[in-house]
């Protein structure tokens, strides 16, 4: 029976290797969804609080400039705080990848902030900055080069395999 986790491929021992384009893209998409969901939730909570306190209503939809500013500040906070704290965002944690310095050391606040500020530059010219993940030797996007960071797999495939093997044990109690 083929291991559904690894599909028979030798992916164990990938921790610390440069992460590929698909994992990074899916993680980013998950982050966009998560940050947007949290932002919407926060805006609704703010509206509710204003209603409770003053009886009136407050909605960002009526203030495009304030909305844009709030989104920019929130996205900056969302990415830079998580990167500085653990080297990974929610989406990256799901995909088992994390940001490190180019030498492999954990990143600090300066790299996290620099990476967040330079991230939009990779979107310029139809996302040309992201092409580096596919074609460069060390899978660096433009913002990685500017901030001095790299993205690596942090996923422990060996543990996943152990879990899968454990599930094959007929004596194991069902959870």
């Amino acid at each position: 029976m083929t291991d559904p986790v690894t599909q028979g491929k030798p992916i164990e021992g990938r921790q610390g290797h440069y992460a590929g384009a698909v994992s990074r893209l899916v993680a980013f998409a998950a982050d966009v969804g998560a940050s947007w969901g949290l932002f919407t939730l926060g805006a609704a909570a703010l509206d509710f609080s204003v209603q409770l306190a003053s009886g009136g209503s407050f909605s960002l939809t009526g203030h495009p400039l304030a909305s844009l500013l709030a989104v920019i500040v929130w996205e900056f906070f969302y990415f830079s705080y998580q990167w500085a704290l653990s080297g990974k965002t929610i989406g990256m944690a799901v995909l088992g990848i994390r940001v490190v310095k180019t030498d492999g050391a954990p990143i600090g606040w300066s790299q996290a902030v620099a990476r967040t500020i330079t991230l939009p530059l990779s979107f310029l010219f139809l996302g040309l900055g992201f092409l580096g993940i596919l074609v460069s030797r060390d899978r660096h996007a433009l913002h990685d080069r500017l901030a001095g960071t790299a993205v690596v797999y942090s996923w422990d495939a060996r543990a996943a395999r152990l879990r899968w093997l454990a599930k094959q044990d007929p004596t194991a109690p069902s959870i």
Binding site: M1, T2, D3, P4, V5, T6, Q7, G8, K9, P10, I11, E12, G13, R14, Q15, G16, H17, Y18, A19, G20, A21, V22, S23, V26, V94, L95, G96, V100, K101, T102, D103, G104, A105, L134, V135, R137, D138, A150, V152, Y153, W155, A157, A159, A160, R161, L162, R163, W164, L165, A166, K167, Q168, D169, T171, A172, P173, I175
Partner: protein, 162 residues
């Protein structure tokens, strides 16, 4: 009286002879290997009272003199781990059920599958890009130096028998 005299003479002669002998030269002429070969070690060991010998050893003192840190540093843990047959271990022990009880959940299983698919697709695209750019994959760095610096390439475990 004569006997005492003979004894005294003998002692004196032996002392003079012993002084005259060059012990180093004598030892050099002895075929130590030949002597050792003639010794019946098994018989010798049989005569040794091991229990009495062990009783005289101060184990505590012996352990104190051992530099455990130095021994541990010399152990290639990665090699030891790689030599463990995890499948057999899980089959023969209760480890499997323990792990299953503690870590297996639907969420972690889904995560594992998503990640494995991600890595698979990463490899797929990387393979094609390398083919188009005509660059050998082994010439590319695997990761940041501090994270992938290993003295020798550890053989990766292949999974599943199909």
């Amino acid at each position: 009286m004569a006997e005492q005299l003979a004894q005294a003479v003998a002692e004196r002669v032996v002392a003079i002879v012993m002084d005259a002998i060059d012990m180093d030269a004598l030892i050099q002429r002895i075929d130590v290997d030949g002597v050792v070969n003639r010794v019946d070690v098994d018989k010798l060991i049989e005569r040794v009272d091991v229990d009495k010998l062990v009783d005289r050893v101060d184990v505590e003192k012996l352990i104190e003199r051992v530099d455990v840190q130095r021994i541990v540093e010399r152990v290639d843990v990665k090699d030891v781990v790689d030599r463990i047959d995890i499948d057999a271990l899980l089959e023969q022990t209760e480890l499997g059920s323990i792990i299953a009880r503690s870590t297996t959940g639907v969420a972690s299983e889904v995560l594992d599958v998503i990640r494995a698919q991600g890595v698979g697709l990463d490899d797929f695209f990387a393979r094609w890009v390398n083919r188009i750019l005509r660059r050998p994959p082994e010439s590319l760095p695997e990761g940041p130096p501090a994270l992938v610096m290993t003295p020798a390439r550890v053989p990766e475990l292949t999974t599943g028998s199909g």
